[in-house]
């Protein structure tokens, strides 16, 4: 029982820190609420889908921005838009914020700015991925130890 408690406390602290540092926001909490016995891995599934989506979009954007002839800002914008939507759906606050800035550079057709944002997005995305993977690992450990995942408000 001690182990479970310890793990749970770890989980709570980690969640709280993620929230505090702005990696996740309320939307993530909402998602966690949707997880129940019918869909026990809902959050993990959504997160995996997100990571796939992210990678795909980032590659698209990188390719589009590498074009020397003329950057198709519309396409970039569309991708950024998608990314923004996905990140806000999952509650990835930081990623979403970068996307917002990204979009304004796209509108301004600022290639330098876009590239910079792309870098940022990639950075944020990998950070988030790591963090979430740690979180999910903790969750699995708790479940393996026989405890239940505490809900953090």
């Amino acid at each position: 029982m001690d182990v479970v408690n310890q793990l749970q406390r770890q989980f709570i602290d980690y969640s709280a820190s993620l929230h505090r540092e702005g990696f996740l926001d309320d939307q993530f909490t909402q998602l966690q609420k949707l997880q129940d016995d019918n869909s026990p891995d809902f959050v993990v599934e959504v997160a995996s889908l997100f990571f796939e989506d992210c990678e795909k979009l980032i590659n698209n954007m990188a390719r589009a921005l590498e074009q020397q002839q003329g950057v198709d800002f519309k396409q970039v914008d569309a991708s950024v838009h998608q990314l923004k939507g996905s990140s806000s759906s999952i509650g990835a606050m930081r990623v979403k914020d970068v996307c917002i800035a990204f979009r304004s550079f796209c509108e301004a057709q600022n290639r330098e700015g876009c590239l910079r944002c792309l870098q940022q997005v990639t950075h944020e995305y990998s950070l988030l991925k790591n963090k979430l993977q740690t979180l999910f690992r903790l969750q699995q450990q708790i479940l393996a130890a026989g405890g239940s995942i505490p809900v953090v408000e």
Binding site: L34, Q35, D36, L49, S88, S89
Partner: protein, 740 residues
């Protein structure tokens, strides 16, 4: 010569003498014969005569005497023997009868005489009775007079009328010449002539009260005859020969206090008036006893009547006074009410008037904050916001306080989450505390019930105020908030002797202690803390602003909640502890929380508000699609997902009740889809509800949605509760226009 039998009389007949004897005898016989006739005649006439036998005897005697004398007539001349024989017989008979009669008369004459005596006696008796009758009649008259007098006197409660009537009636009844009333003056040393019968306006004669004759009258309860020469009786014009008799009687002047003694007040009264009555002069009248009695009775009655009149006057005066006071009080009350109403109206109007520009200032300042500003501008805007927030709080406080003082404030009781209140306070206070580097800790006792019945808003206001004060007055250190249920031993706090809480089954006393390590308060300032507008003089308070109303309002709220609030401090620089206890109700059963947090274990099937509701979700973005699906599945819907408009149009059928489509992706015309769907389902009840999911709700998007006939817009991201409420609204009303 023959010898004749004649009888020779003794003497020779003398002619003259003979003649006279002859005539006398004749008349005697006549008389003798007529007397019995007369007797018989008169006796027959009278009804009563008890001695008939005597009469017969007497009659016989007289008749025989008469016969004798008659026969005697013949004996004067020569008469025969027969005549002599008859004469002798008659004489013998007469002798017998007369002796018998004489004997009888011895018995009878005393009887006859006694009749006479009796007659005399009866006559006397009759005379005496007559006299007595006269007396009784007189007394009755007097009694009637006195009753009438009393009636007259008592029929009025007016002092003057009483006295005047007394004198008039007495004068009439007793046929007095003069009747006067002497009243004691205010000083009590003199008697003043107040009323007279004959003189209309008595001039103010006064007589010293301590004259011997007056003392004599005052010391006796009877009417006393006094000399006509004494000063009180000298009010008639002089010049009469024989002044009539004068009688004086005392009239006690009774006070209200005299009637509290059970017996008739006797010598306890000190004040008397003097009534003087004078019989007409030159008449031989004397004061009779019954007249004196009448006078005494009247005097007593007058005394009673006068005191009744005095009592009545007193009570009328008191009643008038009370009525005046009532009118004055009523006026004062109405004025006070008018004043209160005027003040309330003023406050309400001012409040409204003040709030409107306040609202404008706060709203516009917040909006201004959102725009691009230089740092200096931002600072200025923040200051504006802070000041206007402060002002707004001040306005609210003032209005609340005035309503509190009226007693017109009532608590809004309801069931609320107690823990949530504390957490909210903590959240609100944390930013300020962290800026000041203060550590705030909240400690809720384990036996504290989660839900309670009370006024949530005002409790929060109180806690916030107290904690806010703690933060305000602490420059460094820590603030600790503890809350627990007050046990009965602790309820009777020696420091608050006037607070007697009574625990009961469905109430508990929440005790909250807020301890800070700030500047503290000196003991003499502690009582002033809860008074309005009072502030301590330390520099700290001057800089922190505030109107000094906060604690006063808290105290009122706490009192309304049947509690008590106080502050303890060990002195300046030693921090202080604010403690309050309020009475809260315990809800009977814990309702299913409709609150947005803390389901401890995810429920199995979730609140399936919409079981089996067929929903179509159209979204190009995979993640977003999945999230929406997750939401709807959690709510129990049967979700179909499509990722393109063609697919959507293909799949949509009348079974789908709601269609969620993402319209903020450029290039994918969600609007087209909506139009197509509208065309497809001509009948309105077959058409599914179309809701747009979008990331921005600017005017253009909204107009577009409305134009194509969508039923609603939801702003992403969507929370569970938002989705739930949106769906219920939609299904109930078939229209929702905008859920943020």
């Amino acid at each position: 010569m023959d010898s004749c039998n004649c009888i020779e009389p003794q003497w020779p007949p003398d002619d003259l003498l003979m003649k006279y004897q002859y005539i006398s005898d004749f008349f005697i016989a006549l008389a003798y014969f007529s007397i019995p006739l007369e007797l018989i005649y008169f006796v027959k006439k009278s009804a009563v005569f008890p001695y008939r036998w005597v009469l017969v005897q007497f009659g016989a005697f007289i008749v025989l005497c008469g016969a004798t004398h008659l026969i005697n007539l013949w004996t004067f001349t020569m008469h025969t023997r027969t005549v002599a024989m008859v004469m002798t017989t008659a004489k013998v008979f007469t002798a017998v009868v007369s002796c018998a009669t004489a004997l009888m008369l011895v018995h009878i004459i005393p009887d006859l005489l006694s009749v006479k005596t009796r007659e005399l006696f009866l006559k006397n008796k009759a005379a005496e009775l007559d006299r007595e009758m006269g007396l009784i009649r007189t007394q009755e008259e007097t009694g009637r007079h006195s009753r009438m007098l009393t009636h007259e006197i008592r029929s009025t409660l007016d002092r003057h009328t009483i006295l005047k009537t007394t004198l008039v009636e007495l004068g009439r009844t007793l046929a007095l010449e003069e009747c006067a009333l002497w009243m004691p003056t205010r000083t009590g040393l003199e008697l003043q002539l107040s009323y007279t019968l004959r003189q209309q306006n008595p001039v103010g004669y006064t007589v010293p009260i301590h004259l011997p004759v007056i003392n004599q009258v005052f010391s006796s309860s009877h009417a006393v005859k006094i000399s006509p020469k004494c000063p009180v009786a000298r009010i008639r014009p002089a010049g009469k020969y024989m002044p009539g008799e004068v009688v004086a009687v005392r009239v006690p002047l009774l006070h209200l206090s005299n009637f509290q003694i059970n017996d008739w007040p006797e010598l306890s009264t000190k004040r008397y008036a003097l009534m003087v009555l004078m019989l007409p002069s030159d008449s031989a009248r004397q004061w009779h006893v019954h007249e004196l009695e009448l006078v005494e009775v009247v005097a007593d009655q007058v005394a009673v009547a006068l005191s009744h009149a005095a009592i009545l006057e007193e009570s009328m005066r008191a009643r008038d006074l009370l009525m005046e006071q009532n009118v004055a009080l009523d006026l004062a009350r109405r004025e006070a009410e008018t004043a209160i109403r005027a003040r309330n109206d003023f406050l309400a109007v001012m409040n409204h008037e003040m709030r409107t520009p306040m609202h404008a200032i706060i709203a516009l300042s917040s909006l201004l904050q959102e725009t691009e500003l230089t740092p200096e501008q931002r600072l200025m805007v923040e200051t504006i916001l802070k000041s206007s927030n402060l002002l707004s709080t001040l306005i609210n406080d003032v209005l609340d306080l005035s309503r509190l003082e009226d007693g017109s404030l009532q608590l809004d009781l309801g069931t609320f989450n107690l823990f949530a209140v504390f957490r909210e306070v903590l959240n609100l206070i944390k930013p300020i505390a962290s800026v000041k580097k203060l550590h705030v800790s909240l400690n809720l006792a384990p036996d504290l019930p989660e839900y309670a019945i009370g006024d949530e808003k005002r409790l929060m206001q109180t806690i916030l105020n107290v904690v806010g004060n703690a933060v305000k007055f602490s420059k460094e250190g820590s603030i600790s908030i503890t809350a627990f249920v007050a046990k009965s031993e602790l309820l009777r706090d020696s420091r608050t002797p006037e607070f007697f809480p009574v625990p009961s089954d469905n109430h508990f006393y929440l005790r909250v202690q807020v301890k800070d390590s700030g500047v503290g308060i000196s003991p003499q300032d502690i009582p002033k803390l809860f008074t309005k507008f009072a502030q301590t003089q330390s520099t700290a308070t001057r800089n922190s602003g505030g109107s000094g109303l906060g604690l006063a309002i808290c105290k009122r709220f706490v009192n309304l909640m049947e509690g008590h609030i106080w502050i303890e401090s060990e002195g300046l620089g030693k921090g202080c502890t604010a403690i309050f206890m309020v009475k809260l109700g315990i809800p009977e059963r814990l309702n299913e929380p409709k609150l947005p947090f803390m389901p401890k274990v995810p429920t199995n099937h979730g609140p399936t508000a919409f079981p089996g509701l067929k929903v179509l979700v159209m979204d190009e973005n995979g993640v977003s699609r999945m999230v929406t699906k997750g939401l709807l599945v959690h709510l129990g819907c049967d979700v179909t997902m499509v990722s393109s408009s063609e697919e959507c149009l293909r799949v949509v059928s009348h079974e789908h009740k709601v269609v969620f489509m993402d319209v903020c992706v450029p290039g994918m015309d969600g609007y087209e889809v909506a139009i197509r769907i509208n065309e497809k389902f001509t009948k309105r009840h077959e058409r599914p509800i179309i809701v747009a999911l979008t990331g921005n709700t600017d005017k253009v998007t909204k107009e577009n949605c409305m134009r194509v006939g969508m039923d609603g817009i939801i702003l992403k991201p969507v929370s569970l509760d938002k989705m739930r409420s949106v769906l219920s609204d939609l299904l109930e009303h078939r229209v929702l226009f905008e859920a943020i």
